[in-house]
Assembly symmetry: C2
Homo-oligomer: 559 residues x 2
C-alpha cells in the first residue's frame, strides 16, 4: 500500500503544501497560498525602511488553505487517500521569531496587540536590530567568545536575540506581555499538534543552534550571566524559553484532533521537527557527506553535512556549524552569499533599466564571450559578504574597464564574481576538513540559467548537478515526515534510504571544461588578492600594482 | 589703423582659419575645411586597427580653402582689408611626422608613393609603433636615461622616432626614399614660406622637445650613438633632419610670392613658428606663470609655463618639460589625461546605449546628488594613465556599489574620477615647484557642462575660469603671429601684452564650495590610496581593507 507525507514550506510571500509519495518522492499534488496581509504578506513601515514583519494570522490561514488545497488536488491521484498520509513536515524562513501568550497563541492575534508591529512575527529580512546585533557581537567577543564560534564570529541583525532585544528596547510593553518567543519553524508544528502552553513547544536545534547561540557545550541557550550583560530582562526571559533543542527525526508532536478533523487526516500522525527552508532544501536535494547543496536565488545558501565523529573544528567565516541542524548525528554546516541573482537584477534592471528581454539579450551576448576575454574582474559584495568574511559593510568593485567594455561583459563579470565567491566558500570548507566532492544546485537560477551553471562548473572545478525537484524544501520536509513516521508506518528507518528513494537529480549536468577552468584558476588568484585586500584579511600580500596588467595579459590570450 | 593676423588650426578632421584683430583679439571671420580623404580625413586599414594616416594633399587643399574662405568672409568687416594682415600663425596636431622628398614635398604627393600608406602623414593617434616605442624606452633606460627625463620617463608610440623607426621596419622603401621627415607643425609654415629644400625647414622646439627627444643639453636630437643602437639607418637619418629647433617669437619664414598671390596677401609678412594645438591653445587661453590651462575634451591636455630662471627640475610622471615650447624664455610644461569626455561617452553611449538625451538625463540626476552621497569611487584609467603614472596598461575601476547604485551615481563618480586625476596633476606640479594659482579651462566640456566644472572646482579647490574664445588654438596662433610681426607692424613686442589684449575670459566662473571641497578632500585621500596601489607606486601604504567602510561612512554623512 502506498503511503504519502505532506511537506509544508513557509516562504516570505506564500506557503506551499505538497503531497508526496514516500515510495519514490513523486509529487501527487501541490497547493500555494499567497499571504493576503501587507505587501505580499510583509508588513512594512515607510518610516523604517529596515522593518519587515508578518501577521501570524497569515500563517494559520495559509496552513489551512494550502494543506487543504493540496489534499483536495491529490484526490485526482488514484493511489491517494487521506488515510494514507503518515506524517507532516514543515520548513520555514528564519530566524523569524514571534511573541506568544501563556496559551502559546501569537500575541498579534489578540486585538489588544494587533496594531503594534512589534507583536507580529519578525521576518528573517527585518534589519531594524543592527545596533543590538553589534552589541551582542561586542559583548560576546569580550566576555564569552565561545558563543560566536559556531556562528562564524559575528552575530547578525537577522537573528533571534537581536530582534527580541530590539523589541525590548522599542516596545517594552510587547516584550513584557510575551509569555515566550517562538521561531516560526517551531510554531507551526506546535499549532498542528494542538500545543497550548509555550513550555510544550518542541524546539528545533536548527533554529536554536544557528540563530540563538544554543549549544550543548554551554548548557543550551547562552548563560544568564551573558544575557544579563545585554539586559537583565533578557536573562529573565531565558527561563521562559527552552532548555533543550532537538535534531530532526523525532516527532515535534502529533496531529491534534482539531486539525485532524479540519484537514480530514488521521489524528496522531507524527509532525516532524520543524526546520529552516535551506536545511530541508538540502535534504530534498540529497545532501550527504561530501555533497554541497547550493540553493541559488536572489542570494545563495550553501549547506553541507559532516559526521559528528569527524569532529569538524570551527571554520572561520562559516556562518553556522551546528550538530543535528540538518540531519541527526551530523554537523549541519551553513554558508551563503548575500547577493547572487540580486546582483544580476541590479545590473539589468537597476543600471540597465531593462526587463526580461535585456536579461536574455545580455545573457546571450555574455555566453559568446570566452573566459577572461572581458578583461574584467568584480567582487560580489554589493550586499556585503556573508561567507567567508562575515561583513555587511563591504561593497561592490569592478576593475579592468576600458572604453570598449560592454554591459554584457560586465554582466558576465558579475556572474563570475559570484562564482569566485562560491569557490572561496568551497575552498574554506575543504581547508578545514569538510569533504566536498559533489555539488547539487537548486533554486530558480540553477533551473533556468545555463550560462551561470557552466561558469560555476568551470570556476569551482566540479560538475554542477541539478536537484530533480523544483521544490526541494517542501520535498525535504516530506522526507523528514517519512523518516519521522518510520519504516513500519510506510516511511523509512534511515535518512539516507529516504533520500535515495525520494530525491532525484536532473539528467542534465554541467561539467568543467578544462580550458575554461585553467583561465578561471588564473583569474581566481586575482580575485583572492582583491578579496583579501578589500576584505581586510590580516597579513594578505596582494600585488595590486600588477592586477590590471595581469588581467590585460589574460584578456590578450583569451581568444 | 587696425591690423589683423590669421591663425590656422589643423585638427584631426578639419582645418580652421580665423582672422583676428590684433587690437582686441576679436574674430573678424572664421572658415573651416573638412578633409575629404578617407574617413573624415583619416586613412585607415581594416587589417591594422591601430593605423591612422592622412593624405598630405588635404593639408595643402585645406590651407588654400580655409584661409581663402576666412579672408573672403572677413570682407564683410568694414575695418578689414587684406593688406592689413600682418602675419600668419599655425598650430597642428602632433606628433604628426611625414616623409618629404629632396624638394621638401610630401612623398605621398608623388604618384609613385601615393598608394603606400607609410608615405603619408602619420597621425598623432596612429598606434602602430608600440614595439618600437617600448624598445626606445628600454634602450634609453639602459644607455641614455637623460633622454627620457624631460618626457616623463617613457617614450610613446604616438611620437616621432617610434613612427619613423616603424616605417623603416615595415616600409624600408619609403624610409629610403625620404630625403627628410617633418612635423606637420613645421611643414605648413615651410609651405607658406615657399621652402623647397628640407634643410630650409625651420623646426619648432615644441615638437622637437616634446616628441623627438631634442634638447640643447645633449646637442639637439639624440646622439647618433644612441640612434645607432636602435638602427644604424636612424643614426644616418639624423644628418638629414635638423641641428637646431626654435621657440616661438621668431619667424619660421615669410609669405612666399606664390602664396601671397594665391591668398591676396602681402608677400613677405612673417609666418610664426608652428606649434602644437594644445600649446597655442594655452597661449590663446592667456597662459602665464601660475596659470594652468586645461583643454578638456575627449581627453584632457594640461599646459603651464615656468620661467627658465626658476630652474624647474624634472617632474616625475609629467610628460614634457621643454624650454620655449609654449612661449620663449619659459619652460613649457605639458601633462594630460587619456580619457575624460570619452569616459562619460563610454558610460552613456557604450554601456547605457543612449544618446544626447541620456547624457542630459544622467547629468541632471547626477547634479542632484551631494558629494559623497553615491558611496562610489572610481579610477579614471579606462584608456590608461598618461599623467602622473605614464602607463597605458592601466584600466578602469569602480568601488562602492550596492544593489541600489544608479547609473547617474556612476556617471557622477566618473566625472569625479577625472577630477581627482586632474588634482593629482596639480599636486604633482606644485610639489616640484610649479606655481598654480589660476586654472583656465577651454574645450567643449568646459563650455557646456556646468556640473563637470563645479565638481572640478570643488575637487581641485581652485576657481575654474573659462577661456573667452571657443577656438583658443587658432587664437593662440594668431597671437603668435602678432608677436612675431612685432609692435612696429601693428602687433606686439611681448607675449604678455599680446595675451592681455587679445585673449579674454568668460564672465561666468565656478568657485569651490567649502562644504563640497571638505568632502572631496576626504574622498581624494581614498582615491590616492587606490591610485597608488593599482598604479604600482613604490612604497605606497594604502589601507584598502577599510576603503569600503570609509566610503560608507562618507556616504552616511553626505545628506
Amino acid at each position: 500500500m502506498q503511503a504519502f507525507t505532506i511537506g509544508i514550506d513557509y516562504g516570505t510571500n506564500s506557503v506551499r503544501a505538497v503531497v508526496v509519495s514516500t515510495a519514490d518522492g513523486r509529487t501527487a499534488a501541490t497547493s500555494v497560498f499567497e499571504y493576503p496581509s501587507g505587501d505580499h504578506g510583509v508588513l512594512l513601515d515607510p518610516r523604517q525602511p529596515h522593518l519587515a514583519r508578518q501577521h501570524p494570522a497569515d500563517y494559520i490561514d495559509g496552513l489551512r488553505a494550502a494543506v487543504g488545497g493540496a489534499l483536495r488536488a491529490a484526490g485526482a491521484d488514484t493511489a491517494f487517500s487521506r488515510d494514507r498520509v503518515i506524517g507532516i513536515g514543515v520548513d520555514t524562513t528564519g530566524s523569524t521569531p514571534l511573541p506568544v501568550d501563556a496559551r502559546a497563541r501569537p500575541l498579534a492575534l489578540d486585538p489588544r496587540w494587533r496594531d503594534n508591529l512589534a507583536a507580529h512575527a519578525w521576518l528573517w529580512k527585518d534589519h531594524t536590530s543592527t545596533t543590538e546585533a553589534e552589541a551582542i557581537t561586542a559583548t560576546a567577543k569580550a566576555h564569552a567568545p565561545e558563543l560566536l564560534s559556531p556562528i562564524g564570529g559575528t552575530y547578525s541583525s537577522e537573528w533571534w536575540w537581536a530582534k527580541i532585544w530590539h523589541c525590548l528596547v522599542i516596545a517594552p510593553e510587547v516584550f513584557d506581555a510575551a509569555a515566550s518567543w517562538v521561531e516560526l519553524a517551531d510554531f507551526i508544528p506546535a499549532v498542528l499538534s494542538g500545543v497550548d502552553d509555550p513550555r510544550g513547544i518542541v524546539r528545533c536545534v536548527c533554529a536554536a543552534g544557528h540563530k540563538a547561540m544554543y549549544s550543548k557545550a554551554w548548557g543550551g541557550l547562552p548563560p544568564k550571566a551573558f544575557l544579563a550583560r545585554l539586559d537583565p530582562r533578557l536573562a529573565k526571559l531565558r527561563d521562559r524559553l527552552y532548555d533543550e533543542a532537538h535534531p530532526p527525526g523525532r516527532p515535534a508532536g502529533r496531529l491534534s484532533g482539531e486539525w485532524g478533523s479540519a484537514l480530514g487526516l488521521r489524528p496522531g500522525i507524527p509532525i516532524a521537527m520543524g526546520g529552516f527552508d535551506a536545511h530541508y532544501g538540502a535534504v530534498g536535494s540529497g545532501v550527504r557527506t561530501g555533497t554541497l547543496v547550493k540553493i541559488i536565488g536572489t542570494s545563495t545558501c550553501d549547506c553541507a553535512i559532516a559526521p559528528v565523529a569527524d569532529r569538524i573544528p570551527d571554520v572561520p567565516g562559516i556562518c553556522g556549524i551546528v550538530e543535528g541542524s540538518i540531519v541527526p548525528d551530523y554537523f549541519g554546516i551553513e554558508a551563503g552569499q548575500s547577493a547572487v541573482g540580486d546582483l544580476l537584477k541590479w545590473w539589468v534592471e537597476g543600471v540597465g533599466q531593462g526587463g526580461d528581454d535585456l536579461h536574455a539579450h545580455l545573457s546571450s551576448e555574455a555566453a559568446a564571450l570566452a573566459p577572461g576575454e572581458s578583461g574584467l574582474l568584480a567582487l560580489d559584495w554589493n550586499n556585503g559578504n556573508r561567507t567567508i568574511l562575515v561583513d555587511t559593510r563591504l561593497t561592490g568593485l569592478i576593475v579592468g574597464q576600458t572604453l570598449h567594455t560592454t554591459r554584457a561583459e560586465i554582466y558576465r563579470a558579475l556572474i563570475e564574481a559570484t562564482a569566485y565567491g562560491a569557490r572561496a566558500i568551497v575552498e574554506r570548507l575543504r581547508e578545514y576538513g569538510v569533504a566536498i566532492d559533489r555539488v547539487v544546485c537548486c533554486g530558480g537560477i540553477a533551473e533556468k540559467n545555463d550560462l551561470f551553471m557552466q561558469i560555476y562548473a568551470d570556476v569551482i572545478g566540479q560538475p554542477m548537478l541539478i536537484a530533480g525537484s523544483p521544490q526541494t524544501p517542501a520535498l525535504g520536509a516530506a522526507v523528514a515526515a517519512a523518516v519521522t513516521a518510520g519504516a513500519d508506518a510506510g516511511g523509512y528507518a534511515s535518512w539516507r534510504e529516504a533520500q535515495d528513494r525520494m530525491t532525484t537529480l536532473k539528467a542534465r549536468r554541467f561539467d568543467p571544461q578544462p580550458a575554461a577552468k585553467a583561465v578561471y584558476d588564473r583569474l581566481y588568484v586575482l580575485y583572492r588578492e582583491l578579496h583579501d585586500a578589500f576584505g581586510g584579511v590580516p597579513n594578505a600580500t596582494p600585488d595590486l600594482g600588477t592586477v590590471m596588467k595581469r588581467l590585460l595579459a589574460i584578456k590578450e590570450n583569451a581568444r
